[in-house]
Structures are given as C-alpha cells and as structure tokens.
C-alpha cells in the first residue's frame, strides 16, 4: 500500500509522579493518501497520545520508541525548521476549540497566523484566504468574523474556525482529535458533515479520533480500536461495526445508545478503563472481558490477521462463530 503515514511499534512513556509510565504500547498503523482512518476507544486509552506522537506534540520528558514515517521522512528525526515544515503539512483539529484558540487574539489572527508567520503571506492576501476558508466551512458574514474574538462565537462556530484554519495551510494529513465531542448533538452533525465533505473534496488523509464507534464507521474507511495504549482490532469500518471480532469492540458497540435499536437499558462496558501502565499481564482487557479464560491472562495476544482485518484476541475465532457476542 502506498502509505502517507506509517507508525511502527510506537511505545511512549510519560513521566507520572516522577516515574516513566507507559501510555502507548507497540502501536502500529498506516494511513494511505486520502484515506480516512478512525481511532476509537474509551477515554484514557491513548488516542490523543497517538495523535500527539505523530504531530510531535508530546509533553516534556516523554520517552518514545518505534518509528513514525511521513511521506518518506523519518518524523522522529526532524528538528528545527524541518519539524516546523512537517507540522505545517500535518494539521491538527483539537477537541475543545475554546481552550485551543487564543482568547485575546482575533479570529482573523488565529486563521492567518500560520500563513503570515511561516509563509510570509501579506496580511491582505491572508485575510482574503481566511474569508474564503470561513465560507467553505459554512460561517456566514466571514469578513466581520475575522475581527471578532473567540468569546463572541459559539462552540460550534469556533470548531468550524478551527477546521478552516487547519485547512488553510493545505495539509495532506489531518489529525482530528475528538473534534465534535465538546459540541451539542445537532452542531456535532453539522461540523462532522463539513469536515467529511471538505476532506473528500481535497483528498485529504484523516486520522479521526473519537470514542463513538458508529461515528467513526460513518466517516472512516478503516477503524482501529484502542485499549490501554494498544490496538485491539483494526478492520474496514463497516465490517468492524457490524461484526466486531474483539470482545472489547463488541462491548463498545453494545454500549452505544441507539434510537434505531431497541435498547431497554443503557449498557456500559463493565469496569473502569485502564491505562497502559495499569494493564495486567496478558490481555489488557481480561479484567473486564465477559469471555475471559485462563489463557487470556497468560500471554499478551499479538495483533494478527483475521477475517479481512487484524485482531488481538486469542479467542477471536471461536467468538466469531458464536452469534451471542453480547448484544442485549
């Protein structure tokens, strides 16, 4: 496959209480040109850290192993100007636009900063591009918006501004870290639609992070499920959603409330999600899994090919045959 981004064996340790703690464990993934990949998991599973590793935005003192390649360059070796150039080719959309946009600078400033600072585009030209970008993401009255401050805009508008600014530098890869989680439901749908449409128009590659399996299935070609800093399952979205292979994926599917399915009780995955450094030996999900056996706790299951995708569960085949993969 002609991959734009390849991550191989990524392991990240972050200092916590003075000790390095593993938050990502042997993560590998690839994103092709123009491909949309979903990354799904409960909070704390390491989704954001994966995106931040790629964008080289890890907190101070992070220890990183593994390889990250972007269009043939070794991302981890980048320094100085090279790193800044790479960053301007990979845009990031953050979860909470209100926190991620400088409150004392104008929207116009936020939109044009990268153009003006990095590309030395003149203010007039940059403003013109910003106006067009705002129109593309469906922000009306865009010229006036440029002079407004973030606190004058709603959360949904701000996230559109964020998306517009991410697209302004014409990146080839977009890292979207729960871009709609902070928004209310109707705004979520609108913002998602815009993001999806613009991405397809421009043939942008996308890493779409969410804790919503269904949303990922709707937007992405391929979806990966993450738990305790590891990839548990990775398959074409439709397949993953319809016939999950890993019990964790199945549990996530069941946990999602749906108006279409008749759900009497809102099921949640029992137990608390764990971070990579808290995970027990063997399968990290063993403690919460309804299908756990003794051998699950013995060895950590590797990701292995199965049924057109990959899965990290020793019982995947047997469970795959049983139709009763918890869905009540």
């Amino acid at each position: 496959m002609n991959a734009l981004l390849t991550v191989t064996g990524l392991t990240v340790r972050l200092p916590l209480d003075g000790e390095p703690r593993k938050v990502l464990s042997d993560v590998s993934l690839g994103i092709g040109h123009g491909e949309a990949v979903g990354l799904v998991g409960e909070s704390g599973s390491g989704k954001s850290m994966t995106a931040r590793s790629i964008a080289r935005l890890l907190p101070q003192g992070a220890q990183v192993e593994g390889e990250i390649g972007y269009a043939g360059t070794d991302v981890r070796a980048l320094r100085g100007q090279g790193l800044r150039d790479f960053r301007s080719k990979v845009s990031m959309v953050f979860q909470d636009p209100r926190a991620h946009i400088n409150p004392v600078r104008t929207i116009g400033d936020f939109l044009t900063e990268a153009l003006r600072v990095n590309r030395r585009v003149s203010r007039r030209v940059a403003d013109g591009q910003a106006v067009r970008a705002l129109e593309e993401v469906g922000v009306a009255d865009s010229r006036r918006r440029l002079r407004q401050f973030p606190h004058e805009l709603s959360g949904g508008l701000l996230q559109r501004v964020m998306i517009a600014s991410a697209l302004l530098t014409e990146p080839r890869l977009l890292l979207a870290d729960e871009p709609t989680t902070a928004l209310d439901v109707t705004t979520q749908a609108e913002v998602m639609a815009i993001l999806d449409e613009l991405r397809r128009e421009r043939g942008l590659a996308l890493l779409f992070i969410t804790h919503d399996l269904e949303l990922a299935a709707a937007v992405c070609d391929r979806t990966m499920v993450m738990y305790a800093g590891r990839i548990m399952e990775s398959r074409a979205s439709a397949l993953l959603h319809e016939r999950p292979l890993h019990p964790y994926t199945a549990a996530l599917t069941a946990a999602r409330p749906s108006v279409l399915r008749r759900v009497h009780r809102l099921t949640t995955v029992p137990g608390r999600p764990v971070s990579a450094f808290e995970a027990p030996g063997g399968c990290p999900f063993a403690g919460r899994c309804a299908h756990v056996e003794d051998r699950c706790r013995e060895r950590r299951p590797d990701l292995r090919p199965l049924a057109g995708g990959e899965v990290a569960c020793v019982r995947a085949e047997e469970l795959h045959q049983e139709p009763a993969v918890t869905r009540d």
């Binding site: 935005l57 790193l83 790479f86 909470d96 600072v117």
Partner: protein, 314 residues
C-alpha cells in the same frame, strides 16, 4: 467599552475630588488658624497677610474656600510659596521635568529588565530559574533608599562610573545623572515584574492554545511572544502601571538621596520648612498624576484583554 470608559471616568473624577479635598482639608485640620499654617509660623507684614486672606478666601466658609481653591488649581493657579515668594505652579513646572524623566526612565528599566528576567526564568527551569526566584525574593524587599545608598557606594564612590549627585546639564549628562537614581527607583519594582512575568508566562505556556500554535509549526520564540507573552501582558501591564504610579510618591526618596532637583525632593523640603502652599500644590499634582496613571492602567488592561469589555470588570 463606552460604558466602561464612562464608569471609569466617573470614578476618576470622584477620586480626584476626594483626594483634592484631603489635600485641601489639611489646611483646616491643622492646629491654629489656617493663616498660621499657610505662613508656616512666620510672622508676616500686614500686606502679605491681606494677600493671603484674599488669595485663599480665608474670610469665607470652608466649602466655598475649597471651591475657589480647586477652581484656581484647575486653571493652574496653585498659590504662592511663602519662603520663595513665587508662584507654586512656576516652581512645580521648573521641577516636573526631572521627576517625570526619572519615573519614565525607571519604568523603562523596570519593564525591560523585569520582563527579560521573568521570561528567562519562565523558559529556563532549573538553575537560571532558581537564581532569578531567589534573588528577586530579596531584591523585592529592598527599599529605594537602601538601593540608592548601595548604588552610590558601589558605582559612584568605588567605581566612579556614574555621578551620584545633582541633575547635570545637557541631554547626555542629564541621562548620566538620572541613571543611578532611576535604577534605585526601579530595583524592587523590577523584581516584582520579573516574578509576575515568570508566573504568568509559565501559566500561559501551559495553555492549550499555545499547543495549537506549536502544532501549526510556528517558531518557538514567536509562540512565546505572540501567545504566552501577549496573554501575560494584562497582569504584567497592570502591575507595571501601578508600580509606575507608586514611583510618583517614591521618586522623592531617590531625588533626595541623589540631590536631584525634582518635585518629590521639593515636596519634602517644603514639608520640612512648612511651606504649606507648596506642599498642597505638589501633593495635588502628584495625587492627580497617581490617579491618572492608575486609571490609565485599567483602561489599558481593558484594551489588552477583549474579555474585560464584556462587563467582567473588577
């Protein structure tokens, strides 16, 4: 914004009225007659007394005296110095330049050095940071007269780099003469600015929007300048402005220590020699400047932080 400015203007006028009233009321609070206070206990010829009575409307009730005094003051008439027999406004005009220059110079030193040191400490955790933190903890407690004495001892007496006394003549010589006084005046304030800069810049650098800027490939120092420092500018500017205001009163200390011919030193002399018209005049000018600078600080803070306009005032 207009409402904010109007409210601030109202407060300004109220404060000025109260302050000027305090300055004026001293005359009536003093033991003995206002005439005795004005003459500072000197015995004056009858015609001088008549002039004083007329000028200060001493034969009228208190409030109308205040009204005519403040009316004159607004028109630039601050009375006559008893000891020099000159218009107080002329005496003030002759000295205001020195004091204003001294304060501006000190404010410049304070902002440049304070922000510089604070940034250094904020961006270089470890030895540099600890050094700045520890030294500012001590320097912040050094009163201006102690700083003045130290500077005179080291730079004027021992090293003989800079003059320790007088105003000097001409621009360059004047600046040389103002340097040690300005440093003395700025010493403790610089430490305070450094500390505020350090804490606020640190705090701002931890904000998510800084990460956004980094993720856009903006160079580090540009991020620091455009985001951390820009957002820290409100507390820094507020403190810098208020500190500059406080220098208006503290300038007297260094002016006396360095024998500068400024307003503050003159005020002290007038207080010592009980030249009351001068004390009143200079106090009024200084308090007005003080209140104006403090108001300016608030307005600047409001323009620096767009969120303040939305009615989130203090």
């Amino acid at each position: 914004m207009t409402a904010y400015l109007l409210r601030r203007l109202g407060m300004l006028v109220a404060t000025l009225l109260v302050s000027s009233f305090v300055v004026f009321a001293g005359l009536s609070l003093a033991p003995g007659s206002p005439l005795a206070t004005l003459s500072g206990g000197r015995s004056l010829p009858p015609e001088s007394i008549a002039v004083l009575v007329e000028r200060y409307h001493l034969d009228e009730p208190f409030l109308s005296r205040y009204a005519s005094w403040i009316g004159n003051a607004v028109q630039g008439d601050l009375g006559v110095s008893i000891s020099l027999r000159q218009d107080v406004s002329d005496l003030i005009a002759a000295r205001a330049g020195t004091t204003a220059g001294l304060i501006l110079y000190a404010a410049l030193i304070m902002v440049l050095t304070g922000v510089g040191l604070g940034l250094l400490a904020a961006l270089r955790p470890g030895i540099v940071d600890s050094l700045v933190v520890m030294s500012t903890a001590v320097v912040i407690a050094v009163p201006p007269f102690a700083a003045a004495i130290l500077l005179i001892g080291v730079f004027a007496v021992n090293l003989e780099w800079l003059p320790a006394f007088g105003n000097g003549s001409g621009l360059w010589d004047g600046i040389r003469h103002l340097t040690l006084p300005a440093v003395a005046l700025a010493t403790a304030a610089t430490a305070a600015i450094a500390r505020v800069t350090r804490t606020t810049v640190r705090k701002e650098m931890d904000h998510e929007h800084v990460q956004t800027a980094v993720s856009r490939g903006i160079p580090y120092m540009t991020v620091v300048r455009r985001h951390a420092l820009r957002n820290a500018a409100v507390p820094i500017a507020t403190l810098a402005g208020m500190t500059t205001a406080s220098m208006i009163a503290l300038a007297a200390v260094v002016e006396r220590a360095f024998g500068l011919n400024g307003l503050g030193a003159y005020l002290v002399n007038a207080a010592l020699s009980k030249d009351f018209a001068v004390v009143q005049g200079i106090s009024l000018v200084l308090v007005t400047a003080f209140v104006l600078v403090n108001t300016l600080v608030d307005v600047v803070a409001a323009t620096l932080d767009p969120r303040i306009k939305l009615g989130r005032q203090t």
